[in-house]
């Protein structure tokens, strides 16, 4: 009976993911997920060995209240940090469950204290290891995304060698743990894995965060899997594998969006020392600067506008003002669409959520391969808070660090408007030659303020 209920729960989780293939079916999917979770929890509460309903109920209420409070209050621009924080909790929970199984193996039917089955010990320590890495890696990712810790990659000598040695040491500890089942070694594994989690994320810079967040998403799934094997629980194994696969695919998509291998991102250090070299041979080139009225005039006289948002839009919270601008243009009979680069923002799909929040209909929001061939037929590209993802150097300059990265071909449209705070280079540290072209107008200023000013000029 239990196995059947767990199976139903697992199937509901699969449907929950399946629902996300379209916005209209996605809400039903989420409900499937919730029902699946409720079934899983109540099925477990029905176990004969589970008796302390009050304590468990209280724990669920406390956790649920905290989770609901955070989820309802969070700003959509802060989603990446939130997701990172949640991942850290899954990792930590995995560590605690593994520890609980180690201290009371009888409750999990995996042997007695001091003589736990070898297979269970291996699975338990792997679950602990992945859980602890997920925990500390996510905490650090959270810090970087929140801005509490510098988003700059931190690199030092022999970094990868040290990580590799620590990893080997952990394997050695796991072997030792399986042999003598000592609590001291168990906690050493936890502590060292936490350390490794920090070291793994430390060299990865801010704009590579979409990959890291997806990767940690994946890890949290594998951690659940590890615990699933320990407890011989198919529900945990299935769900863990689903989540693990999901995170891995997202990491792959994100790395591909930057034309880099996952290994390359994980090894980190990309875009480290850009400040000194920025714009050294372009200082004599002329930049055409404009203001909100110019932008309003150019767009008002166009037939079609493609808006290219990037992380800068999120930082400035400009999505609402941007949508208002789009609405006025549409009312003037101008075709307005949005082009999203796969790695725009700080997590997969970040821009789509922000635009949806600002009530932009999702039909107007298109992915790179859906819209890229339309740029030559477009009069104005309005780039707001994006830079590297539009840089033609990715196609022409083999020496460029972003060479080979798929870009949005804004340079093919008749004119380009760039909303930027300054001439600073993007994350990659590469200067963007588009800034110096004749048909480019730079609009310097805060993205939100600029959109509001353009709205004013348009409605004047």
């Amino acid at each position: 009976m239990v196995a059947i209920l767990y199976l139903i729960s697992a199937l509901l989780f699969i449907f929950a993911l399946r629902g996300l293939s379209h916005p209209e079916s996605s809400r039903m999917g989420n409900i499937f997920g919730i029902i699946g979770m409720i079934i899983a929890v109540f099925t477990t509460l029905m176990f004969k060995s589970v008796l302390s309903y009050y304590e468990i109920g209280a724990a669920i209420l406390i956790g649920g209240a905290i989770g609901s409070f955070i989820a309802l209050r969070i700003e959509m621009t802060a989603l990446p940090q939130l997701v990172a924080a949640f991942h850290s909790l899954v990792g930590l929970a995995a560590v605690f469950v593994a520890a609980a199984a180690f201290y009371d193996p009888v409750a999990f039917n995996i042997g007695k204290v001091g003589s736990i089955k070898i297979a269970s010990l291996v699975e338990m320590s792997i679950g602990t290891f992945i859980g602890a890495i997920t925990f500390s890696g996510s905490v650090l990712a959270f810090g970087k995304l929140q801005g509490t810790i510098s988003g700059k990659p931190i690199v030092f000598k022999f970094q990868h060698l040290i990580n590799a040695l620590i990893f080997l040491f952990i394997i050695f500890l796991i072997v030792l743990f399986v042999i003598n089942q000592s609590p001291a070694i168990f906690w050493t594994i936890v502590v060292i894995s936490i350390l490794l989690g920090f070291l793994v994320v430390i060299p990865i810079g801010g704009a590579d965060m979409p990959v890291v967040v997806s990767m940690l998403n994946s890890y949290s799934g594998w951690a659940a899997c590890g615990i699933g094997f320990t407890l011989s629980n198919n529900l945990l194994i299935i769900t863990g594998a689903l989540v693990g696969a999901s995170g891995a695919i997202l990491s792959y998509i994100m790395s591909k969006g930057m034309n880099r291998s996952i290994i390359n991102v994980v090894l980190g250090g990309f875009g480290g020392e850009q400040d000194s070299s920025a714009g050294k041979d372009n200082s004599d080139k002329i930049v055409k600067q404009g203001n909100a009225e110019d932008a309003a005039y150019i767009m008002k006289n166009a037939d079609s506008v493609i808006i290219v948002p990037g992380y800068g839009m999120a930082v400035a919270q400009a999505q609402h003002a941007l949508r208002e601008m789009g609405d006025i243009l549409k009312k003037e009979g101008i075709e307005v669409r949005y082009a999203i680069h796969p790695v725009a923002g700080r997590m997969p799909g970040h821009m789509n959520v922000l635009l949806a929040e600002a009530n932009v209909p999702y039909e107007e929001v298109l992915e790179l391969d859906e819209i890229n061939h339309d740029f030559p037929m477009t009069e104005v590209s309005f780039v707001i808070g994006a830079n590297d993802v539009t840089n033609p150097a990715a196609k022409t300059d083999e020496a460029s660090p972003i060479y080979g990265m798929p870009i949005l071909d804004v340079e093919k449209s008749q004119s380009v408007l760039f909303v930027k705070r300054s001439m600073a280079t993007g994350y990659s540290g590469v200067d963007n030659e588009l800034f110096y072209r004749d048909n480019t107008t730079m609009l310097f200023g805060d993205a939100k303020k600029m959109c509001e000013d353009i709205v004013k000029s348009l409605s004047a």
Binding site: P23, S26, T44, G63, G64, I74, A100, A107, D327
Partner: protein
């Protein structure tokens, strides 16, 4: 059951690989626009680890294992409620908009 622990493991492994394959196909079918909600949902369902935490917290009386279990329940609950709710918030923004965008003349 004790005698067949290797068999149990192989069954687990079978389930694991089949689930990975299902995950692979299901996730590729997710539209890129919904990748953020995907992270929200996967985050919520990975907290199904609460099952293990409940088993640890189940027995009466208080020992180390039970305390760990209860902490696990709290952490996983934060995620379950938080994950599903934040996904719900995201998805409700992807609703088809009724065609009367802002009455601002």
């Amino acid at each position: 059951m004790e005698a067949h622990s290797s068999e149990v493991f192989v069954i687990g492994l079978t389930v694991f690989f089949l689930a990975c394959i299902i995950g692979y196909y299901v996730v590729w079918s997710v539209t890129p626009a919904l990748h953020s909600p995907l992270m929200g949902v996967t985050n919520a369902i990975s907290s199904v680890i609460i099952v293990g935490a409940i088993l640890a917290a189940g027995p009466q009386g208080f020992d180390t294992s039970k305390i760990f279990g209860l902490i696990g329940v709290v952490l996983a609950s934060v995620n379950i409620f938080g994950g599903f709710l934040v996904t719900y918030r995201m998805l409700s923004m992807f609703k088809k908009k009724p065609k009367k965008s802002k009455e601002k003349e």
